[in-house]
Symmetry: D2
Subunit: 339 residues, 4 copies
């Protein structure tokens, strides 16, 4: 039984962290904090937690947070996490940061994307990118996890086997559709129900900060001579990311070969599902699964790889808890229903 805290517990991701952690058999949630000025019952803020927890949400006090927990989840805005991480590490506690603050090894890359000088360059190197299907062993030993972005999770998992096998050439087109919760819980006219319902739109073509994150993690070795074209889009489904990735092969490939490759990379990973069918988004909503499917054209030259995740679970809170399970030696699937 470990004691955990969640800083930033009233955002969409923070709320999902609390929700999953409350039923995790190895965890006691001992501290949650937000921008509140006075301690307030969490079930007062979110009535759906009534009779599930009587914990109070606290005004953030980092000393108190560190003292009362073995592990802290930071579900804070980008550029805020790096103010707290050094203090947490110094006290020997573990931390999973769900912001982008520790995803890039080089402070310069961070600065160019998030337009702020990095405040904790020292710990950048220590951090491990928390994508268990790629970095399981490092995660087990890590003290600081940089939890992946939602789009990068859906993209890297879909691409990694093919790039590792060096089968892909030319341009990779990534067409991703996300629920609006990816943008955070904000009072904005752009997120008004009436503007989103039944709507659909693309945004930030070619300039979304998650494209460099994908490149950073896959690494120069895997992506050299490849071009990425990433288009994020907002859809009106309640939850999820559905990425369709269009690519071309260096040599003729068929579905059968792809099946073997993906199985080789992912068969031992409990949260990757390689179905025979094309994924449907709702099959992963509310779960930590990443469903991956693919189709090849008749000539065996072009393929589309499709991945579906819940953007707040495998794309954020669920993956963070999967990382926690690995860091503390729990079974990887503990706390996730019926696995």
């Amino acid at each position: 039984m470990i004691k955990v805290g969640i800083l930033g517990a009233t955002g969409f991701t923070g709320e999902k962290l609390v929700e999953i952690l409350l039923s995790h058999p190895e965890v006691k949630v001992t501290y949650i904090a937000s921008r509140t000025k006075e301690p307030v019952l969490y079930s007062e803020i979110f009535p759906k937690f009534y009779k599930k927890t009587s914990i109070k949400c606290q005004p953030l006090n980092i000393k108190e947070a560190i003292d009362s927990c073995d592990l802290l989840f930071l579900s804070l805005p980008h550029t805020v996490s790096m103010q707290f991480v050094p203090k947490i590490l110094k006290k020997g506690k573990k931390v999973i940061d769900l912001s982008a603050d520790y995803r890039f090894k080089k402070a310069a890359a961070y600065k160019s994307l998030y337009e702020k000088e990095h405040q904790d360059k020292k710990n950048l190197k220590k951090s491990v990118y928390g994508l268990p299907e790629l970095f399981k062993e490092e995660i087990k030993k890590a003290q600081l996890i940089a939890n992946p972005g939602c789009y990068p999770t859906s993209i890297i998992l879909a691409l990694y086997p093919l790039l590792s096998e060096k089968l892909v050439k030319g341009k990779i087109v990534i067409d991703s559709k996300s629920a609006i919760t990816g943008a955070g819980r904000k009072a904005s006219i752009d997120y008004h129900y009436s503007d989103l319902a039944n709507n659909f739109w693309a945004y930030k073509p070619f300039v979304h900060q998650h494209q460099p994150e994908v490149a950073e993690i896959l690494g120069q070795n895997l992506i050299k001579s490849l071009t990425f074209s990433f288009l994020p889009q907002v859809a009106s489904f309640e939850a999820g990311i559905y990425s369709t990735i269009h690519l071309s092969f260096k040599k003729k490939i068929n579905k059968n070969i792809l099946d073997k490759i993906y199985n080789k990379y992912y068969q031992s990973y409990p949260f990757i599902r390689l179905g025979t069918k094309i994924p449907k988004l709702k099959d992963v909503v509310g779960t930590n699964f990443c469903d991956i499917g693919f189709a090849v054209d008749k000539k065996g030259q072009n393929a589309v790889v499709i991945s579906a995740i819940d953007n707040l679970v495998k794309g954020a809170a669920g993956q963070a808890i999967q990382n926690m399970n690995l860091m503390f030696g729990f079974k990887e699937t503990t706390g996730f229903l019926s696995l």
Copy 2:
């Protein structure tokens, strides 16, 4: 660890039963059946169960079902259950029937509503109506449970304390809104996405079969001299029932008194939440909770009582599993997340 089977595992309710039971720590799902002609992987029918279970859905064979289970859930159409129940009881096994077949004590009442002669009058008396907040002790000892209808669950739980206290007079108006899943999984043009999306309509005014069910369960003693006016409606939310019940008091009442009464009846029941706020439907979706709220007019003469449930959970599968927990001596909340 008990062995359970689900007959009718591909309807909305059957699917929800499988989903919850798969992660129930005291249960092993050993047999599931549907109209399939050949055994087929359940995860083939519903890909969302892939990597969650490798059970096969069988063509229904009642002997096999009885032999392999301690308890059977019947999620079958009305008039079908009563063909199987006598056989199950004879073999000493327990059964929770989610159809209407055993909800009425008198075969005549059943016949007038479901237009078919009852085939198993003998066991009608044996059956216990599976609403734990009213009949907990009987459920613990029951061999045959008639699981409540979805609307009646939302209505009876909201009304029971006030009627028991004999506070209500005159006409009770019940205005209920339900997700379309209450109508079952059928290929019908009326359930086409395009006809339902953003739509809303009333149906069966004054003649829905759930109104007599409410009256049957509350009993003559509680409802005499009261009139019920029940209007079911189809809403385009994905899941849930939201009932608003308008009533008048015999004497002046205030919110404070109501709070005390509802607490008296429900404080020991883990799935009833008496919040201080008006319930919002989404707070109960995916849970076995019934959220109840109320408001009284300034004169203290009229009130509206509001209840919200997930129609497939507390309104069907979840309640059935709550009943199972009681029948087998498990903790009432076992198998329900974070309780």
Copy 3:
């Protein structure tokens, strides 16, 4: 061809006014204004108007507005309209106010509901309540129209024939469900897509300001000895109000009698549809129709009357334009598609 202006053109109602008026054959939209600081293309604010109009939205200048128009639509917040109306009337121009400012004959009633002293008591008496199915002749001659609230439109139209015939007794329960657009276009966390999608909730039980509006318009003569219980609710459909009104009769009534009564009152009104079926909300969305249906119980003692409107059309902008048609001697249905 008349010249019209819209003050408050960027709210949901203002936008709908512009949309309908742009294709009205007898109207030229010459002035639109909002809180903008500089003139800005309306199609810049709402790209859906690109290639439909090149009008600019102006910072509100009441003198300019009056000078350039024969008629002004005020789609402004409550308590703001009454600052402009006296000036408009003084210049001999006509005005249709979509706020609540002129809906009550007595300033005291207004004050108790909107918590502000009325600033233009003089013109209160002049105003005509713009519900054409009740006040057609007065509207034709009016200079100042108080356009009805959305809920009251759906409620009064449903009730008026039965109350006029003095058939109803006791308590009238009004259970109304509305799209969120009724609350206005605001950046609020409560209107965030993720909080509203698939949700449903009641609010302001017994205290919504539209209940006194209904009583005011129906008048003491029609409602004496009757009690109203009004419950507004927010639904996640994109547009519309669906009101279900439960009532009891003084004497035995059947569906046939009701058909005759409603036909007597409404047969000459082009926007009231008395179908033989229960209304479905989507049949009126995007139109100025009010669909009314009803059902009577077997004893002929109780009924439910159901009305469906588009809350922004018949419940606001459409009705305002219907009023304009009457005020300027156009055919009542002009500007409404295919009528």
Copy 4:
């Protein structure tokens, strides 16, 4: 005033045709037919047409249809239209076929896609592909129009200027998202509200019949040396197609150049909108507009072109009526609101 008939008036497209045509000032709808066995009021089938039309839907009688109309819209399943077209043409009447039957010049292409021998090869050559932005002059003189598929409309309009200018090289990735209405009005479990709501999925990767249609219309000259990769997807928005088209340039291009090119091709076309912003789907829903936007990467090598249409309007019924306007010498925008 011309007399028109709609064969197949109860499908989604047929219904939309009736809706728009009823308010078209130059048209009288004189005949509508469906699979009904007896004549039945159209407003009985679709109550939303009550008080809009009292026309009856007839059992299809082709002789009657031809005799009573100047123009017939065929909104029939593929392979059915070609049974009627020869008869209509022989009588000198005009016809707009919304099926795929006359979209391919070569019967062999048709056969390979729709798996049926073409029955009316003679008239294949006569038919004009009804995309006014490409074939306006031919449409004006045509007796037989093959109305474009919904996906091809969104794709061809987005691509045509760039291909005509021979700027594109390599692979063109077309990632399209459509409302389910594109699949027709069928009672299928796959179109059940509960399966579609909040869902999203790809289907028919590389093998959808609309990809060859795009190639056929653009013609060998424009597409030689290019590769197409088309992925259709089902989204849960109520209406619309949103196509994102990813492509690469032969030489360096910037947004400014693209603006000029698209303006050159489309500035005189009333239904193409080249906004400065990325299109949002809901801006075109309910209209005959095709909104086109684009973005270029920093290097000027790659672009994404985005088009948004209402799949039942510009993608089907609206475009058919636009074609009708051209064929009969009406203003191209007649019958479309506020243009």
